[in-house]
Symmetry: D2
Subunit: 364 residues, 4 copies
Amino acid sequence: MSNSIGEKFRITSFGSSHGKAVGAVVDGCPANLELTAEDIQKELDKRKPGTSNVTTPRKESDEVQILSGIFEGKTDGTPITGVVFNKNQHSKDYSMFKNTPRPSHGDFGWMMKYGNYDYNGGGRGSGRVTIGHVIGGAIAKKLLKTKGIEIISHVTQIGNIKAEKLDFNTIKENIEKNPIRCGDLKAAKEMEEFIISKKEEGDSVGGIVETIAIGVPASLGEPIFERLDGDLARILMNIGAVKGVEIGLGFDVAKHCGSQINDEYQIDNEKITTKTNNSGGIIGGMSNGMPIVSRIAVKPTPSISKCQNSINLERMENEKIEIKGRHDPCICPRVTVVAESSTAIVLADHMIRSGFVHPTNLKP
Amino acid sequence: MSNSIGEKFRITSFGSSHGKAVGAVVDGCPANLELTAEDIQKELDKRKPGTSNVTTPRKESDEVQILSGIFEGKTDGTPITGVVFNKNQHSKDYSMFKNTPRPSHGDFGWMMKYGNYDYNGGGRGSGRVTIGHVIGGAIAKKLLKTKGIEIISHVTQIGNIKAEKLDFNTIKENIEKNPIRCGDLKAAKEMEEFIISKKEEGDSVGGIVETIAIGVPASLGEPIFERLDGDLARILMNIGAVKGVEIGLGFDVAKHCGSQINDEYQIDNEKITTKTNNSGGIIGGMSNGMPIVSRIAVKPTPSISKCQNSINLERMENEKIEIKGRHDPCICPRVTVVAESSTAIVLADHMIRSGFVHPTNLKP
Amino acid sequence: MSNSIGEKFRITSFGSSHGKAVGAVVDGCPANLELTAEDIQKELDKRKPGTSNVTTPRKESDEVQILSGIFEGKTDGTPITGVVFNKNQHSKDYSMFKNTPRPSHGDFGWMMKYGNYDYNGGGRGSGRVTIGHVIGGAIAKKLLKTKGIEIISHVTQIGNIKAEKLDFNTIKENIEKNPIRCGDLKAAKEMEEFIISKKEEGDSVGGIVETIAIGVPASLGEPIFERLDGDLARILMNIGAVKGVEIGLGFDVAKHCGSQINDEYQIDNEKITTKTNNSGGIIGGMSNGMPIVSRIAVKPTPSISKCQNSINLERMENEKIEIKGRHDPCICPRVTVVAESSTAIVLADHMIRSGFVHPTNLKP
Amino acid sequence: MSNSIGEKFRITSFGSSHGKAVGAVVDGCPANLELTAEDIQKELDKRKPGTSNVTTPRKESDEVQILSGIFEGKTDGTPITGVVFNKNQHSKDYSMFKNTPRPSHGDFGWMMKYGNYDYNGGGRGSGRVTIGHVIGGAIAKKLLKTKGIEIISHVTQIGNIKAEKLDFNTIKENIEKNPIRCGDLKAAKEMEEFIISKKEEGDSVGGIVETIAIGVPASLGEPIFERLDGDLARILMNIGAVKGVEIGLGFDVAKHCGSQINDEYQIDNEKITTKTNNSGGIIGGMSNGMPIVSRIAVKPTPSISKCQNSINLERMENEKIEIKGRHDPCICPRVTVVAESSTAIVLADHMIRSGFVHPTNLKP
């Protein structure tokens, strides 16, 4: 039971890179939300490969079909099934990895755990599986929008190149203007060049993706063990390639004193806010009404064409490996869509759980 | 249903700082594990306040009683209930916080969410509630030990003072020799002095706690949504004061290329290992047999005696606040025990879930 | 994780017949419900043994203590822990059952499953464990009352003696007037005599317990797999000694045609009702606003003093057994309280899940 | 989150009668189980309508496709998605039910709960949705077969016509020889005639379906709240039209004394059995190694062509209704397949949970 997430708004994901289809069943979306395939397609198009020279040249049309859950253009409270049939798969590229796990790639775990592993294109360990996340996230985002919540994810760092801090609306506008999905257009240009230079070396690069959610009411999240920060950390860390998650100041808190970073409350136009937002919108596991800010550390794509050491599991011998295929030199731009979707899924779930969204019917 | 965690090995935590008791029910521990109250007491004593000048001067005896789940010295597969009755509580210290949330302290969320908040000592938002985690963790650690798994947590940074990297056994030995629970004795001394200096200023300091688990078999963790790294990130982020979680290299991956940090496999004495452990023992959401290494960012205790700005929720006015009470100037040393316990709970749960520990009986 | 039930209103039960205590943690009760130990004690007193000649002569004071979850006389949204410390236990009565499972008693399963079984008084398989159900049920009933929902359970059959059909209020009044908790006072007298006659023979008798809940709004229950009837069937079948559950007409539907038993709708004083209630208040897995009526088949207490055939598990030989102890000749009167509690737990859970009760705060 | 069931072997069902498709995602089936679409198709064909004069004349081809979860002819531990695209739907038949709930049909609840209800063919409340159950059940049955467990469901009563008690193999053979799926061929003939006579009157009839599982090891089931009988009762009661569930003697226990129906243990050829099986294979919530026997009460199909009283929800007025469409005069024969599937799902889940089946890999 490892392919589902969420308590009230719940995604069950299925499918693999080179199987017939990938998709998700979304259970628990209240009835009467207007929803079309286009709402989902729009988000899927953002993670689609083959759109620039910083992603894999694989062309995937990734057309989503909705098989259930919509009646007369609106959700009807029953499970929504979104599916994308796989089309442009080259299984020949992968047979040499059957018994040879790729360094820092998930396939070793799959081989050990299940004994029957679809090694083609990473099977269910493939990034392609995040199509299920995006299907869930697109619905979650539409639901959250009815309550005034908006979410964006953007790249803030690639290698040592860091984006400047910018306001929500500038980021939102700029990420659509560059293939990196970075809010700082100047940094984006440098990042693009850096990625291409590494790609030409047969190498890959890592980075950082930040997600900001605005309009979230105070008190979302359920202490002690289903806190909002815990649930966000889980879903974000569950994204392949992510090795760290932080909220607000994150790891920088280690260096500071309480007097420097405590977020002081103030009444501002009859609204409660904090003067600073070092907490990233979450204190004590619950939202405080300020923007929710998380960052994830995304490792360089493990699939590189440089020669690497590995082993042959059948012969239990050391073995060299070169990973040809068509891989993203930097996964960060595409991860933004997955981080945004994942954040939306958690927020939608907690909005229902905390009573801000009616559990079965948006128009009761 | 926010006070339980774990699927097969499941902790349900209860109690508050100034109520009658705190404790936990541990459901799903297989039968035939030898277990006494001392096994739990030993761990609780590590998080006990009042033992040094870097923690709160509150003296709490924190004696655990086991109310259920043990028959003839061994677990019998029924829920194990551990409870600590509260004794040394000063409720008078807290009345002024009834309507005035403390900056960066969880109480604002509790007030908003529940409307009836036990503001004494932080109520259920108090660090005292982690006694439940430690009860669960002590049992999990005993269970894991039967399979050769050992876990330690230690402080690696306070403010800008960083500990040197040391091997598992040295750290294990040294953390018992200093109140910081730092493996590097020289750094520990500096950290202690730094904490005391800040305490004297009425301030508090943050830091980083690392947890290492050795002996974990490969393939623990359930992709896609109940991965080992995701579950660790959640339970660790759920600890009060934690603002970041990383696995292996963590946020450092952003700066690196794949060729620099990929962990290459090798056959070493008929055993599969990786030459490096930048992945921190987890790839693709599953363990790979290498030590599992996580780090958490712990913010400075928000309760400081310096004057701060806040608001009065009843009068909806700005209001100044000074938090007297008896607070830890640095929570990191005590968080080590909670991080260790939390990690143990997740590992015990996944050891059962993945079939490495029989779900009902250790001696079938 | 088998000792918890409920999604939003969730009971975690612990303890055994001859251990230190039995009790339950109730998680998910919204804040601001007035609650005292007396509210729970009142319900516990109904299941207390030793109060009449139709139950076991064991005297158990069964005094509940609340360890957590109440602040200033009201729930505060944190887990409520109720505990009853065991007092009047005779462990000597049970040693002969260590390796000899009692016919139709649960102990065989416990021995097989866990290998370390507290055979004293049935251990965790004892009816005494339903104290946890009643703690949860008492809180659930108090919560439901704020929404106008009332529940009663009563004995409708013992052996071949059947109670007449009576209205809700008559039953409610009469069950307090006789030790059988039967609404029909004449039948109650006969039942009592029948039970005593069987008790004198060293035998036991079975019966049927009906539960009626009034005031439940339409549309509770979540199809397809968490339907209201399914959830009621589960919790009721989980009660020891129950071998059947039916809703409305129950097994009688087999003999009827659709035209005879379909419940026709009508508008009655601007309210939607059905002319008959053969569905027992639930259609398609959801409540329809009519009284919810369930019945359970309760088997005769398996512990009888007559000589029976069994086996010795250690020697793997046939062996005779005589069960002395102090047992209820008929468990039905005490089961009424457990059925009522179990029904209340399910209804409280679904009232929150369906949005009729706010999930965290009764007075938002 | 109401469309999933099972903890380790988990079905998520989706789709509706007149939408694009119905199906299920099965998560948690261990890898290395041989599985083809034919394994599922074979079971679906048993519930297919239009095959005799006692079921609806609707012809549905119901061809299942597997979209994920199989690699090289075997399960690979990833979610298995089975889908049946809808074809022969007549939406015109249903428009008059938009605001007029059918007596004893689930549609009233759907209208009240979700506000946007696909009234065509019952939408998600349709029996057609049990295709998802059968997809899950077919996989569960295949998994159970590897451990020697076999399950059959058969009709034991229609109206007042009862089948004789017969042994497992005779029933298994005979149910394939008659459209009623009754083990007693003589009774089957009478049942068939009775159903046809009622069909001609525009009426419908109820009945009883029994399920027997053989080969189940002792100790399946998790007390206190996830007992085997409780879990079976829930999944069986969740089937539309079911109003009662009993295990073993069921409601007959009410009339008996303990000395009459206790199941005495015996050593028989070094195997532990009971002399009788009045418990129906489950005591104390756990299997005891004897055949597991359950019975469900199935109400007459509520959709009848006779004129009935109902209401118009929009106008809030009384209104007459005649349900034309193409309905089963007796749903029992088709319910057998759903009962068998549901039982298989629960047993497969508990076989994994109790450690009898490895959670991730059948050939570790």
